[in-house]
């Protein structure tokens, strides 16, 4: 236990030197590094806070925009639904109109088809009736029926209106003699009756040429130029067929 003053002084100097060394090479760099790190952390925290504030603002902006968008969407949906209802109503009206038109057209087509079928059936019935009548009259055609038809010819001629005879009476047909065609050969009496009736109805004497035409089946036909008075079975059947054709 001895105090060496030289050591005492040198140790003081050594300690002060060590103090400078540690301050220069240990404390200052370490403290500076810690300060820089704290500053960096503070800066990072400040940036994080700024980012948080910015994110919060952006979130509020987004939420506001989202709310606006929801409102716009609701308004657009209402508008779309309104337009959709209007368009549906318009399309339904068009469809109803088209359906009505189509129904009318279909009804017209059905009516036309029915009419056509009716005409065809009528024509067919007429044809069959004419054929049947032709066949029946062909079988009924005889001398007696010829006589009855001649009498009917005379009666028909007597009942014929004067208007139809005025042109013949005036001689506008330019004929010279009349041709009286019959299915069977007429007797003299029948010829006389016919000639007298014609002369009396026309008010003048008409020279007649009697012609036999079996195709007439029965009855007689008088031709004065272009004017004819047909009262034969073929002529009646022709009138019947013509009436059927016109009735279609």
């Amino acid at each position: 236990m001895e105090l060496n003053w030289t050591t005492f002084v040198l140790e003081i100097i050594n300690f002060l030197a060590l103090l400078w060394i540690l301050k220069r090479f240990l404390y200052r760099p370490i403290v500076q590094t810690l300060a820089e790190r704290r500053a960096g952390i503070e800066r990072t925290l400040a940036e994080a806070r700024a980012t948080e504030v910015k994110a919060s603002a952006m979130r509020q902006q987004f939420e506001s925009r989202l709310a606006d968008w929801e409102q716009e969407k609701a308004a657009a949906r209402r508008s779309f639904e309104t337009e959709l209802d209007a368009e549906r109503a318009r399309q339904m009206a068009i469809l109803a109109k088209d359906l009505a038109t189509e129904r009318e057209r279909s009804a017209a087509q059905d009516a036309h088809r029915l009419e056509t079928q009716k005409r065809e059936l009528a024509a067919q019935a007429s044809t069959e009736a004419r054929q049947f009548a032709s066949a029946l009259l062909a079988r009924l055609a005889s001398q007696e029926l010829e006589g009855q038809l001649v009498q009917l010819f005379i009666e028909e001629l007597a009942a014929l209106p004067d208007e139809r005879l005025s042109a013949v009476r005036a001689g506008q047909n330019g004929h010279g003699k009349g041709i009286l065609t019959s299915a069977f050969a007429l007797t003299a009496e029948q010829r006389q009756q016919l000639s007298s009736a014609i002369d009396a109805r026309l008010g003048k004497a008409i020279a007649l040429e009697f012609v036999v035409e079996p195709n007439l089946l029965a009855g007689a036909r008088l031709a004065l130029g272009a004017w004819q008075l047909d009262f034969s079975l073929v002529g009646e059947l022709g009138i019947f067929a013509e009436a059927s054709t016109l009735g279609r």
Binding site: T7, I12, F15, A17, L22, I30
Partner: protein, 236 residues
């Protein structure tokens, strides 16, 4: 325990082994700190840097606990005291070396530096007049006791460290001589613990003395103000 041997002389200066060992420690501290702190990284500190930061922050926290807001001012002095005393205490574990703190000259030098620093920091903080005034509070009659306390605690600071470290080395040497090779191992473990404890005590007492000097102005202005936990002259 024999006195430190003179290694060489420079004129009339006798350079003892204590001084040479201290120079060696200074060299180790200087080179080590230079190597460790030349490439410090802010973002990715290495293992050594992390350890050094831990040490520095621990010292700062200890100072901050005693003197809030003065850690930056006192860090170099108190930190150097702690580090130097701790390493100097542990130097005795190295074969053929003696702890510089086992030499009364070293501990007296350190205590003297602490004595001067107490007044230096006190005058720097309060001003000379206000600082000297606290020796007269609460009564001028107490001035001799204040002065006696200043010297006694400095003496106690030197003697405490010297006695503990010297006795530790002597005990280890005696156990080694008497009991053999492996028996002193527990004593050496005790040496480590005691060396660190003594370093902590020395630095903490220095910090408390300095805190007392820096707060003496506030204490003299308002006697009701809470006093620093000053353990003037108390033995560990």
């Amino acid at each position: 325990m024999e006195a430190a041997s003179v290694v060489f002389t420079l004129g009339w200066l006798q350079i003892t082994s204590t001084v040479v060992t201290t120079w060696g420690l200074m060299l180790v501290f200087g080179v080590g700190c230079w190597l460790a702190t030349r490439n410090l990284s802010v973002d990715q500190p290495g293992l050594v840097q992390t350890a050094l930061e831990g040490v520095v922050q621990s010292i700062e926290a200890a100072i901050e606990g005693v003197l809030p807001g003065r850690a930056e001012l006192l860090l170099p002095f108190i930190g150097t005291l702690w580090l130097f005393v701790a390493v100097a205490n542990l130097t005795g574990l190295v074969p053929e070396l003696h702890s510089p703190t086992a030499d009364l000259s070293t501990t007296a030098a350190l205590a003297f530096v602490v004595f001067l620093s107490v007044h230096w920091y006190g005058i720097r903080t309060s001003g000379l007049k206000d600082y000297l005034k606290h020796y007269l509070t609460p009564s001028p009659i107490l001035l001799p006791f204040h002065v006696l306390g200043e010297f006694s605690r400095t003496l106690a600071l030197a003697m405490r460290l010297f006695g503990n470290i010297m006795s530790l080395e002597m005990a280890a040497l005696l156990v080694l001589l008497v009991a053999g090779l492996l028996v002193p191992v527990p004593v050496l473990m005790l040496h480590i613990v005691e060396a660190l404890v003594q370093a902590y005590i020395f630095g903490t007492l220095a910090l408390i003395y300095i805190a007392g000097g820096m707060q003496s102005h506030e204490a003299s202005e308002s006697p009701e103000a809470p006093q620093t936990n000053d353990k003037k002259g108390s033995a560990p």
